[in-house]
Subunit: 167 residues, 2 copies
């Protein structure tokens, strides 16, 4: 395979994967492109490579920066802005996890807590409802906490041991 083809295939695949996980295709593609670019790219560069409009590039770069996984850079002498991606994969994973937790999981947890605490008539339906949503609350809370724990976990000895066991 040619480099050009490989690069393209990578960008397309990453974009498709992103959209299956609720991240817009272009956003994932821009990120993919920046990941494999040894040098920072300008908006112009990105538009050209991905064949997208200026508006699209601008909006998705903003979104990526909001996620904290793409950074703006300035080159001396150059007027325009350049962009680089977070390339440390552990850091990337943590950032994504934290952001999704903040935006999606935490609000869902609040709702779960609310709905699982309804009081009143003790029909089979309500009892089962409270039981299920409570369990779900505990489960999601535990899963969410795990994300917070992963960072520190990676750094301590038992964590590294477990990581090894996990292959």
């Amino acid at each position: 395979m040619e480099f050009k083809d490989a690069k393209n295939k990578f960008i397309q695949t990453w974009g498709a994967l992103g959209s299956q996980w609720g991240i817009n295709k272009t956003m994932a593609q821009i990120h993919a492109l920046l990941m494999v670019s040894p040098e920072p790219l300008s908006m112009e560069d990105i538009m050209e490579e991905l064949l997208i409009s200026r508006g699209n590039a601008s909006m998705n770069l903003r979104a990526l920066m909001d996620w904290g996984i793409v950074y703006k850079e300035y080159k001396s002498g150059e007027r325009k802005e350049f962009f680089t991606a977070e390339k440390d994969l552990d850091e990337l994973a943590v950032k994504i996890a934290q952001e999704r937790s903040k935006r999606e999981i935490k609000p869902a947890l609040r709702v779960l807590k609310d709905v699982s605490s309804i009081k009143g008539n003790e029909t089979k339906e309500t009892k089962h409802f409270v039981e299920q949503t409570s369990k779900l609350y505990d489960f999601v809370l535990k899963a969410d906490n795990m994300i917070d724990k992963v960072t520190e976990f990676k750094d301590n000895w038992i964590g590294r041991l477990v990581m090894k066991i996990m292959k």
Copy 2:
């Protein structure tokens, strides 16, 4: 809050969460509804509760069964089919993880492996590309393996210990 409101809020929230994670809203809602129903529901029941068409209900129930998280049941004397959701949350999580791994991660891994093994000219660009995609391959592979490991992991002593440490 009234039970009826709580139930509705739960279903809406679950649906919204689903769509943020690449699962169609109705599919997530049907699953939510079945999760909190103490008794199996018929397609008719589901259509009524969620105000959706027969076709929609049929297709999304099929999808949920393909994911292995909703089961068809028959009641003696009744001609129509009834449905229940997987209610064991560990089981649910494992099934979802396995299915997403199979459908999305594994194919992406294959591509990563391919594109990271291009040979030829050793420009800065290609070297960086190979380096990054190789790292990504290793990382995604490790993450994917973790999913496979979680099931067995939960059941052995060190796993339980670590789970405790993780809170």
